[in-house]
Amino acid sequence: MSTAMLTYLFVGASFALYIGIAIWSRAGTTKEFYVAGGGVHPIANGMATAADWMSAASFISMAGIIAFLGYDGSVYLLGWTGGYVLLALLLAPYLRKFGQFTVPDFIGERYYSKAARIVAVICLIFISFTYVAGQMRGVGIVFSRFLEVDITTGVIVGMAVVFVYAVLGGMKGITYTQVAQYCVLIFAYMVPAIFISLLITGNPVPQLGLGATVADGSGLSVLAKLDKTLLDLGFSPYTEGSKATIDIFAITMALMVGTAGLPHVIVRFFTVPKVSDARVSAGYALIFIALLYTTAPAVAAFARLNFIETINNTAYSEAPGWFKNWEDIGLIGWVDKNEDGIIQYAAGAAFQGSPSYTGADGENGERVLTNAQTDSSNEVYADRDIFVLANPEIASLPGWVIALVAAGGLAAALSTAAGLLLVVSTSISHDLLKKTLMPGITDRQELFYARIAAAVAIGVAGYLGINPPGFVAQVVAFAFGLAAASLFPAILMGIFVKRMNKEGAIAGMLTGLLFTFAYIVFFKFVSPELNSSENWLFGISPEGIGSIGMVLNFLVAFSVSRMTSAPPAHVQDLVDDIRVPSGAGVAHQH
């Protein structure tokens, strides 16, 4: 069977599975729709959390980013796993004991304030839509490359599948499809990684292969060879960073804390039966996540090595098929600067910006570019997003592995998109309508509004996927920075600082939010030409500024709460209650 046929088969079979699960697990009540009835087994919830968390960014982009950044890419590995320690130790068990449906629920009740609830809803919607736009781009890339349909069709198919299981099944449907999606995506990630590790080092375990000796007789380890190859081409060594230590520190902190504060991850821990289940479930989630996250750096190093060896000093006419395939969809560009018909790869950008093609073919059959050339001798532009997807082709693996990767990438993107859309729809139907604007509605009406909100949210997400705003990549820093600067401190203080009152919490959230927002907007949109380390506050980039926003949030919250009155007795009793595990019912109506 051809690779395209296999891809249709794998993707079709996985979609059929997700829809089958959705029909089997339809939600009948708001409790099933919001928290899957509160009866999910901790291991199943761990898998669902892993799929919920590992997005198109983790599956498709992360290894590619690490391949380019080397040591500096560690911020993503550390940040996106270390946050689970904070989640398991500081947030998840207490929020489970609190036992309601949403993150704004907790903030609204703990700070006895509709204003606090609304601030939390705004943060949540902003964070979630930023994130969803990235997922839909991932769906579009996979469809356009592997199924040879245009991005619009791909996004519509993806939306339709998410629509079926998110609108019908709510959290219940999403939970069980995410379990299936985790299995698909981890299998799809590990199989090519194991093959490539075997090919390059002879060791089947990628985590060990990364430190093993390359099987080419050179006697060098993978990382030593990569350092040497990159130095020869004028890059800095792979294992040494080029970012300032303070910036690495701040980015890692913002990503860790932001991860712990992401609403779509937090709500997963509302679905397990008991407080102790929330802790153990976070542990399982991190095991399932760590499987991919410890493999990714190996995939990154192998891919970089393979890419250089396959491409550099190869005649364009003899370049492998994948090079031209990715050039066709605009993620690779080649400009023959010295007109020798041979591809030269070196440090520095080949040309300015991302490729824009004239539509004509050049002398060697390459797509001619209109971009202004740079002085560097590098002739190749390669988008970082292609590395995981192209890796099986670069290593000449069989067609079924390539098909598997396509199904895995879609599983990663769809599972995260569904989780995000659910928290958006519940925060609208539950926090905005039921708790703020229309307190009189019945459970049935609330469920109806939740479904409408989910459908509308899917429509908006699809629109963002088909017409991606040019700034998607620019605003990813927003999601983590804002979660770190606003939601995380408010939740943490709500549990650990009984004296924290609504004045302190709201002032803290707004300070963190506005400071982080203003800093990112200033350097990314208002004055992008100033976006370099000499102009940054303490040398911290917009990606890491959420950690300063978090510190400001704490400082302002403590100062304001000292000057204002203590929270009322029933709120202090609530704090006492969530600190003690015994007596947690299932998530309840209120």
Binding site: I66, Y71, G73, S74, L77, L78, T81, G82, Y84, V85, L86, A88, L89, L90, L208, L210, G211, A212, S221, V222, L223, A224, T239, E240, G241, T245, I248, F249, T252, M253, K274, V275, S276, R279, V280, A282, G283, L286, A290, Y293, T294, P297, L492, M493, I495, F496, V497, K498, R499, M500, F554, A566, A569, Q572, R579, V580, P581, S582, G583, A584
Partner: protein
């Protein structure tokens, strides 16, 4: 570091102690009713929890921000199974420690909760 606002005061609750102990300065020995007894148990439980949390978060901080970031250059002088040691902590080792930390917390918390009779079984 996190939750630092609570660690400074002896019972982690700050000034609102008086709320729990209205009339608490009276000679209460022997007049502890069940409710204040339970409050004491809960306070001891919470203190044990904070102590455990503090210890685990120190390890969390040392492996990630210490070994992987602040001291990475120093550790890179040493080789470790084909890796530079600092690089290994940043891209592999820390993640394994994170997993271990959560499971240590799960097991230890279960023990603490049983000891104070506040577990959820």
């Amino acid at each position: 570091m996190s939750g630092s606002g609570t660690n400074g005061t002896p019972d982690g609750d700050g000034p609102e102690n008086s709320y729990h102990h209205e009339g608490g300065n009276l000679p209460t020995h022997g007049s502890h009713d069940d409710e204040t007894l339970r409050e004491d148990v809960v306070r001891l439980y919470w203190r044990a929890n904070l102590k455990l949390l503090g210890g685990l978060l120190v390890i969390w901080f040392v492996v990630s921000f210490g070994f992987s970031i602040l001291f990475v250059d120093a550790l890179n002088q040493y080789a470790f199974f084909g890796f530079k040691l600092g690089f290994w902590w940043a891209q592999q080792g820390s993640i394994y420690v994170f997993v271990a930390l959560i499971f240590v917390y799960v097991v230890q918390m279960k023990r603490i909760e049983r000891r104070f009779g506040v577990d959820d079984d």
